[in-house]
């Protein structure tokens, strides 16, 4: 029952907000919806919800993990969005890169799409039927496209177009993959194992290996495009850099995870069919490649939102690498998914604060944040140290776990490449972050005395605290939950 609620609340509220006139009320609804969703999700930990549609909708540990991340991030984002939309509430803005005037998309559309986006992502996490999963993932694309085009200027439009086209192509391939899976699951007499996870896993022995492999390839490429694995990641930096920061936070923190979940699902089937190794080798390759490509674009990157976007590519690489290594690395990868989502969302939100004051996405034009926006500056630095895997923050532990798994499996080459790439990326990212945070404050900003509202600081600060705690202490409950989730991956 609660699954229905989880899906319907955002959907209905979304429809509602679409027709609402009053801005303040609409924002209130957004927050309420997010809070309700979050509390329902929290409740699912206490009372596991019953499966629906004959097991098509079911919340297993894996889905629950990602659902929780998504819901938590959405709550933070919703709170932040209230302040953000207030700040953005102006007739026309001057685009600080091309100097043209531009307007924002209607706030109603924006809010509604946010809620639809949440509904779609929820569906991704709860759907066990792979067809349904595909529909949900495509739905996330369609719901998020208008969000990216919130600021109606050239670059955001271009980004939206690329996002739409590339992701649609990818998703289309994933659909083909689903059909392949259906073929793999069908038997000589035309009967077929339903494309629902547990029945597939149950009948894994009878699946046709060749088609299964083809399925994995197609779904890997299809969902990998959405997930942002190099070289399929090309839409990601554009979309993340041009979307409003609050949307970037959701894209990077929640959406990519959903695509990742899609890949995990098919990997579950392959593992059950005894084909785990086949996918894992590819995963390791994609993981290292993604990290390498990210490193290429992070070194010397001046646009700090693109920097964060490429860092997402890197971390998606780390996740898939972890799954590719398997064993203890599965645990590490899932833990890292949590850490990365929280940290990256936090960073994007802070980037939003910086953007509103400095009105420049070029790191060169930004300096002395520590002096101009003390709170944001501290969060910015902390976030960068966290995302680059320095103690005492969460990502350190998860990356460490993956490294140890790699070496325990005796894959020194992988571990070495992994370490080297992490080091290069650290240098690239920290250089930008420090250059922005430190240094003397330009009088333009200092005299302006920008104030940091609670709504702008609270959500990222809360996320930062969680990340810090996760770096010093992994709660036993969470530990076991992630272990169970990792166990599902075999």
């Amino acid at each position: 029952m609660s699954l229905i609620a989880l899906l319907l609340i955002p959907t209905l509220l979304g429809i509602g907000t679409f027709f609402m006139k009053n801005d303040a009320r609409r924002r209130a609804v957004l927050v309420v919806g997010a809070a309700a969703h979050a509390s329902l999700v929290a409740a699912t930990w206490a009372f596991p919800p019953a499966p629906l549609l004959g097991g098509w909708l079911l919340l297993d540990r894996l889905g629950q993990l990602f659902l929780t991340i998504t819901s938590a991030l959405f709550l933070a984002a919703a709170l932040y969005a209230v302040g953000y939309l207030r700040r953005e509430q102006r007739a026309a803005h001057r685009d600080f890169e091309e100097g043209l005037l531009f307007t924002n998309a209607p706030e109603a559309t924006f809010t509604a799409c946010l809620l639809f986006f949440l509904a779609a992502m929820t569906l991704v996490t709860v759907s066990q039927a792979l067809g349904l999963l595909w529909i949900a993932i495509e739905a996330t694309t369609l719901a998020s496209a208008p969000l990216i085009y919130f600021h109606r200027h050239h670059r955001s439009l271009e980004a939206t177009w690329k996002y739409l086209l590339i992701c649609s192509v990818g998703i289309a391939l994933a659909l083909l993959g689903n059909f392949f899976l259906a073929v793999a699951a069908s038997t000589r007499d035309g009967a077929r194992v339903p494309l629902v996870l547990d029945s597939l896993i149950g009948a894994a022995g009878s699946l046709h290996v060749a088609w299964l492999k083809a399925t994995l390839l197609l779904l890997l490429v299809g969902y990998g495009t959405k997930m942002g694995l190099a070289p399929l990641h090309t839409w990601l930096p554009d979309a993340h850099s041009e979307a409003p920061s609050v949307v970037s936070a959701l894209l990077s923190g929640a959406l990519l995870n959903c695509a990742f979940l899609g890949i995990l699902r098919v990997q579950q089937v392959c593992a059950a069919a005894g084909q785990a190794r086949f996918g894992q080798d590819l995963f390791v390759g994609f993981g290292l490649l993604s990290m390498a490509v990210a490193a290429v674009f992070i070194i010397g990157q001046t646009d700090f939102k693109r920097l964060l976007a490429y860092s997402s590519v890197e971390h998606m690489g780390i996740l898939i690498l972890g799954i590719g290594l398997g064993g203890a690395a599965n645990f590490g990868a899932l833990l890292h998914a949590v850490n990365h989502s929280l940290t990256k969302a936090m960073l994007f939100l802070v980037a939003g604060n910086i953007l509103t004051v400095y009105r420049s996405k070029s790191a060169v034009g930004v300096g002395g944040i520590m002096r101009v926006l003390p709170a944001s500056g501290v969060l910015w630095i902390a976030g960068f140290f966290a995302i680059t895997g320095s103690p005492p923050f969460g990502p350190f532990l998860s990356e460490f776990t993956i490294l140890k798994a790699a070496l325990d499996q005796g894959r020194g080459g992988v571990a070495c490449a992994y370490l080297v790439l992490l080091a290069i990326i650290f240098v690239g990212m920290i250089t930008v972050a420090l250059g922005m945070a430190q240094g003397p404050a330009d009088d333009r900003w200092r005299l302006a005395r920008p104030s940091e509202s609670l709504l702008a600081i609270g959500p990222p600060a809360a996320l930062a605290v969680v990340v810090l705690i996760l770096g010093l202490y992994v709660p036993p409950a969470m530990h076991t939950a992630i272990e169970e989730a990792a166990h599902l991956l075999g």
């Binding site: 039927a129 067809g131 349904l132 595909w134 529909i135 495509e138 739905a139 694309t141 369609l142 496209a145 208008p146 085009y149 109606r152 200027h153 050239h154 670059r155 439009l157 271009e158 980004a159 939206t160 177009w161 690329k162 739409l164 086209l165 649609s168 192509v169 289309a172 659909l175 083909l176 059909f179 259906a182 073929v183 793999a184 069908s186 038997t187 000589r188 007499d189 035309g190 077929r192 046709h208 060749a210 088609w211 083809a214 930096p237 554009d238 850099s241 041009e242 674009f297 990157q301 693109r306």
Partner: protein, 217 residues
């Protein structure tokens, strides 16, 4: 095994080749519309032996969407943008055709690699489906205007759908509908996007959208 399956598949392949060689956007739209109609027919033909209301409804829906709604929407866009011809494509039409033949070969090779567990409605089904899919991909890569890319995306979709109809029987209704809905929304949103692109940039040449890049050299 319903009659007229093979002709439909062959026509599908031919139309795709035709699309490879066509320069006029309006004709492109018509071709894609025709493919939509073909798919509707194919759906019926594929389930000829156990024709059910469900199948007919689905076929009609497909006809309505792919045969009517999309072409209508896209030609609206075309009028707004008032672009008649595809801008000089990145890959000339002749080479496109040749590539098409290569793609055909590849799809036969691939379908040979993948022995079907159960008999499809036709031996042509898999190759043609894969071929159409590749044509779609190829067109996206090789054509400039955003509109053409949407058309190409539709061709890609058609290919995949052909595979679904031809090889996978008995997909659950809800999934079919969901897929159609998604495709519909996708095309709809893309259409809107093209409206905006045309308004903002005064052209719909997707290749000139290169503001966002890390390549300064």
């Amino acid at each position: 095994m319903g009659a007229g399956v093979d002709p439909a598949l062959v026509l599908l392949a031919l139309t795709s080749v035709l699309l490879l060689g066509s320069s006029r956007l309006t004709r492109g739209i018509r071709i894609v519309a025709f493919q939509g109609i073909l798919l509707g027919g194919l759906t019926v033909a594929a389930h000829a032996h156990e024709l059910s209301a469900r199948v007919v409804a689905l076929a009609l829906l497909i006809l309505a969407l792919k045969g009517a709604a999309f072409p209508w929407l896209l030609s609206r866009v075309l009028q707004r943008a008032d672009v008649r011809r595809e801008v000089e494509p990145l890959v000339s039409y002749i080479i496109s055709m040749m590539a098409g033949t290569l793609a055909l070969a590849f799809s036969f090779w691939l379908s040979a690699r993948l022995p079907l567990p159960s008999l499809p409605i036709s031996t042509l089904a898999v190759p043609v489906a894969l071929f159409t899919t590749q044509v779609g991909l190829f067109l996206i890569v090789s054509r400039r205007t955003a509109l053409m890319q949407v058309l190409a995306y539709l061709v890609l979709e058609n290919g995949i759908y052909t595979f679904g109809v031809g090889v996978v029987q008995g997909t659950p209704m809800i999934v079919e509908l969901g897929i159609l809905l998604d495709v519909f929304v996708a095309v709809f949103v893309m259409g809107i996007a093209i409206f905006h692109i045309n308004r903002e940039f005064d052209h719909i040449d997707a290749n000139q959208l290169t503001l966002l890049t890390d390549w300064t050299g």
